[in-house]
């Protein structure tokens, strides 16, 4: 599945300062745990939870704890799926589709 993922607000520093990544993820690749993932893998679907663990393994180059906490993103990171807060699409259970755009952005405090 072709996806575009983007990092901002400083998170790009965790992956060699590259902000935009065009990736190709096999839905089978994601780490599969819990009932929802069994169902999603049965339907050959990729959830954001799967994507997060894929990104952690394949894209993040350093300090993964600055990206994730447990199986979600760390506090202070907004996740946007096609320019909408992932809270609106089911958070970790959001099912991704071909050509989706996922943005991980750290909140800024400077001024």
């Amino acid at each position: 599945m072709q996806l575009t993922i983007e990092f901002g607000g400083g998170l790009e520093l965790l992956c060699d300062s590259v902000k935009i990544h065009n990736i190709n993820v096999d839905p089978q690749d994601g780490e599969k745990q819990g009932s929802i993932d069994i169902i999603s893998s049965f339907f050959n679907q990729l959830t954001l939870k799967n994507l997060l663990s894929w990104v952690r393994t394949n894209v993040i180059k350093e300090r993964p704890e600055m990206f994730m906490k447990g199986d979600s993103v760390r506090p202070g990171v907004l996740v946007l799926v096609n320019d909408a807060d992932w809270e609106l699409s089911g958070q970790l259970d959001t099912v991704l589709e071909e050509k989706d755009n996922v943005v991980f952005i750290s909140t800024l405090h400077g001024g």
Binding site: G76, D83, A84, I105, T107, H109, G110
Partner: protein, 461 residues
């Protein structure tokens, strides 16, 4: 000292003295102008009343009609929008990179009353982005400087100076006097505190942030929309919060965001347009992209504004925002203390060693782009992040120095480590000790201490 430099010093002193007199006179003029304007306003009202002829029923004086004519000509803004603005009050917290442009536009556009909160003073390294301040105000209060600038743009706007740090103890009293709040601060605890204060008092909050080449903007607690805590219920880890003083910021980036904050505040105050609530504008200045994203709605579980939230005036007063975010409200530079006394030397001690010609190697562990700004002579740059991989370089340098000074095979060159402020150098020395360089010592306070205690001409940044 030769006669030329004596003369130069005298001229500089004279310039400074004249500048300060000029500033003083300008302040007197602007204060008198404000008084005169008030008198004129009063007599205008009186005379038009005595004529029984207001000229127009919209309450705008001829001066105001002329001053704000371009607003009045906008069909979507017009007299009603301007009248609403003139009746409104906006509080800007922080007169820095965001607050500067926001205040200039808010003063110009005719907000009735503007409050400015800041406890800081103007410094030379602020002027690259904090465009409301000028060189003449270096060393003076930011609030005073910003207030003078606002008054000189628009003497008919009332400017209220709050020369104090924004804390839970004064927050409720200050914010309660305004209709709209602009968060132009630079740290996480202030952002949570301002949000909670606005939720308690039911004030819309225009929130902006900028760092490096990125900016973010949204309006919280507006018309049933989400608040800051709905989005970020848990504060980020402290090492995720970068500061402009460490990471840098291109001046125009907070400039753009600050202007947009003024725009949102004007929309909210004038009741015109669609404020950026439930949405966030993200600016990526490098690629020239704005992204407008849809945010979640108000969270029912939110600890500040949710259905079962326990936030009240009292809990707000008692809440420890520094503890909650593990970050001080006035973020001064971090001061680590990782090493024992015998693993550290002061900058003056190091200077003596250099003068005495002690055989040594000085490793500067700052990032390469910092090293390019300024460095001590004969130092070698090995950034902390690469230190472990580049130990052979240190060993080679130590050997080379020892050979150069033909030391006995038993003794070796000393190893000193320096950075900007003396934190990374301690981390580096800790690492070096672990990796076998047991004699490594850190220079306390880094290059800042060198500039402060040894060489006042050494540039700081």
């Amino acid at each position: 000292m030769d006669s030329n430099s004596v003369e130069a010093t005298r001229i500089r002193q004279e310039i400074d003295s004249l500048k300060s007199k000029k500033l003083n006179i300008e302040q007197q003029i602007s204060s008198l102008e404000a008084q005169l304007h008030q008198l004129e306003l009063n007599s205008n009202t009186a005379s038009s009343l005595s004529n029984g002829n207001l000229g127009n029923s919209n309450g705008l004086s001829p001066d105001m009609i002329y001053r704000y004519s371009r607003h009045l000509l906008l069909p979507s803004f017009g007299v009603q929008g301007q009248a609403n603005l003139l009746k409104s009050s906006v509080l800007v917290i922080g007169a820095g990179g965001l607050g500067s442009p926001a205040l200039l536009y808010l003063a110009a556009c005719g907000v009735g009353r503007i409050g400015i909160v800041d406890h800081d003073i103007v410094e030379l390294n602020n002027l690259q982005r904090q465009i409301i301040h000028t060189e003449a105000y270096i060393g003076k209060s930011k609030v005073e400087s910003a207030a003078d600038a606002c008054r000189s743009i628009n003497s008919s706007t009332q400017i209220v100076e709050h020369k104090e740090a924004f804390r839970t103890s004064n927050a409720l009293e200050i914010v309660s006097k305004y209709d709209v709040v602009v968060d132009a601060t630079d740290n996480a605890p202030s952002r949570y505190m301002i949000n909670d204060c606005c939720v308690v008092l039911g004030k819309p909050l225009v929130s902006g942030a900028a760092l490096g080449l990125e900016g973010q903007l949204t309006v919280y607690n507006y018309n049933g929309g989400p608040c800051y805590r709905c989005l970020f219920p848990t504060p980020p880890p402290t090492n995720a919060c970068q500061r402009c003083a460490d990471s840098g910021v291109l001046g125009v980036v907070p400039g753009v965001i600050g202007c947009l904050q003024a725009l949102e505040a004007i929309k909210v105050a004038s009741l015109v347009g669609e404020p950026l609530s439930g949405r966030m504008l993200l600016l990526d200045a490098v690629s020239g992209r704005f992204r407008n994203v849809k945010l979640r709605g108000r969270s029912l579980q939110c600890e500040a504004c949710g259905d079962h939230a326990v936030l009240t005036r009292q809990t707000f007063l008692d809440f420890d925002y520094e503890k909650f975010t593990q970050t001080p409200l006035s973020p001064g530079p971090l001061k680590l203390n990782l090493l024992s006394v015998d693993a550290r030397i002061s900058s003056t001690e190091y200077s003596e060693k250099v003068t005495e010609g002690e055989t040594h190697v000085l490793v500067d562990v700052r990032p390469a782009h910092h090293y390019k700004i300024v460095s001590l002579p004969n130092s070698i740059n090995i950034p902390l992040s690469t230190l472990e991989d580049r130990l052979p370089e240190i060993s080679a340098s130590l050997e080379k120095e020892a050979k150069k000074d033909s030391l006995d095979s038993g003794s070796s060159a000393s190893l000193f480590v320096i950075c900007r402020r003396g934190n990374d150098s301690q981390r580096a020395v800790e690492l070096l000790h672990k990796l076998g360089f047991s004699s490594a010592k850190d220079i306390i306070g880094g290059l800042e201490s060198w500039a402060h205690n040894v060489d006042p001409k050494f540039p700081t940044y």
